[in-house]
């Protein structure tokens, strides 16, 4: 699923150090761009590519979290299958739902990764428009730059398409977990009903005992002269 994501991420990975916090990545990218400007090497390119860089960083972080999800799903599925304790199964589903929900949050339409993807694509398309009207370059140089940006556009589109797939997959998974949870909830209700039935049986038994005792007592009462 994530092959194209890997391609784009790995292609962009070398520029900035990986950082867990988006904030840190943002600050580092700005700082690096400024350092590039100050030294006069690579001025412009570092700043221009910023939305694409940010998208790549977010994709990378997202990708890293997916293998954990697969493991969690496998572990939980095993536990749920073998669990006879309904409450435990429900807790497993809760835990799994939390994990899937976190991932869905990243790739949801208003989530950080998707938003960065949209920004990155907008940036590339604006760059292509600007380049088409830019007279600073020779025709062959301009064509080369346009080709490079188009290649990046195709890769970014591919990556966002895979995000769409991931979104649909996580949403489907969350829906399935909800449905299963509802089923487990029903099992829990059956168990509660069974407990209630057991209590009623005990009560009935006790009432019968009491009734027998009472009958014996009544039967034992003999009026004088009888």
């Amino acid at each position: 699923m994530m092959t194209l994501l890997s391609a784009i991420v790995q292609g962009r990975r070398a520029r900035f150090p990986a950082a867990a916090l988006f904030a840190l990545v943002f600050v580092l990218s700005v700082t690096t761009a400024r350092a590039g400007d100050a030294s006069g090497s690579g001025a412009g390119s570092a700043g221009v590519a910023s939305p694409v860089e940010q998208f790549s960083e977010q994709l990378e972080a997202f990708q890293k979290s997916v293998p954990d999800l697969n493991k969690t799903i496998q572990d939980s599925a095993g536990t749920i299958d073998s669990a006879t304790d309904v409450a435990k199964a429900r807790a497993e589903i809760d835990k799994l739902r939390e994990t899937v929900s976190t991932l869905l949050g990243a790739v949801s339409d208003n989530g950080p990764v998707s938003q960065l993807g949209v920004k990155a694509l907008d940036h590339i398309r604006n760059k292509l428009k600007t380049l088409a009207q830019d007279n600073r370059f020779k025709p062959e140089e301009r064509q080369f730059l346009i080709d490079q940006w188009r290649k990046l556009e195709a890769q970014t589109e591919g990556a966002t398409k895979e995000l769409d797939d991931a979104r649909a997959q996580f949403a489907g998974l969350l829906q399935t977990l909800q449905d299963n949870e509802d089923f487990i909830g029903e099992l829990l209700e059956i168990r509660q009903a069974e407990k209630a039935l057991e209590v009623i049986r005990h009560l009935t038994h006790d009432i019968r005992d009491a009734s027998t005792q009472l009958n014996k007592l009544i039967g034992g009462i003999k009026p004088p002269g009888a």
């Binding site: 840190l24 739902r97 929900s101 208003n110 989530g111 969350l174």
Partner: protein
């Protein structure tokens, strides 16, 4: 040394700003499907007062704070026409299908919605 301090301070400020912008508390998801499916839905939709980005390819999944949200569309004379309520629960997804050909658009809930309150639940 001064540069390092500046970098750390910057990271803290931006980190704090991002943390402040994140929705606090529990979140869930709203899946909006539009029929008929179009590359981009022209009908403007709102969750409470917030206008949604045009829905592409007939579907969108949005992260929302938990609670009851009001789904609305553009009505007459610039007012908003309420379509239905959506109940968002923690780590759950509530699916609603909107028929955009009707005026005003009509809500169809996957679960719920047949009651008077017309609320979609997960």
């Amino acid at each position: 040394m001064r540069r390092l301090l500046g970098l750390t301070a910057g990271a803290l400020i931006v980190g704090a700003a991002i943390a402040a912008c994140r929705p606090t508390g529990d979140v869930g998801y709203v899946e909006i499907k539009t029929v008929p499916v179009a590359p981009v839905t022209q009908t403007a939709l709102y969750i409470d007062a917030a206008k949604l980005a045009p829905i592409k390819k007939g579907g969108a999944i949005l992260r929302q704070p938990t609670g009851t949200l009001k789904l609305q569309a553009d009505g007459v004379a610039g007012s908003l026409a309420p379509l239905c309520d959506i109940v968002v629960k923690r780590n759950r997804i509530t699916t609603v299908t909107i028929s955009v050909l009707e005026r005003p658009p009509r809500c169809q809930c996957r679960y719920g919605g047949s009651d008077v309150a017309h609320a979609c639940v997960s």
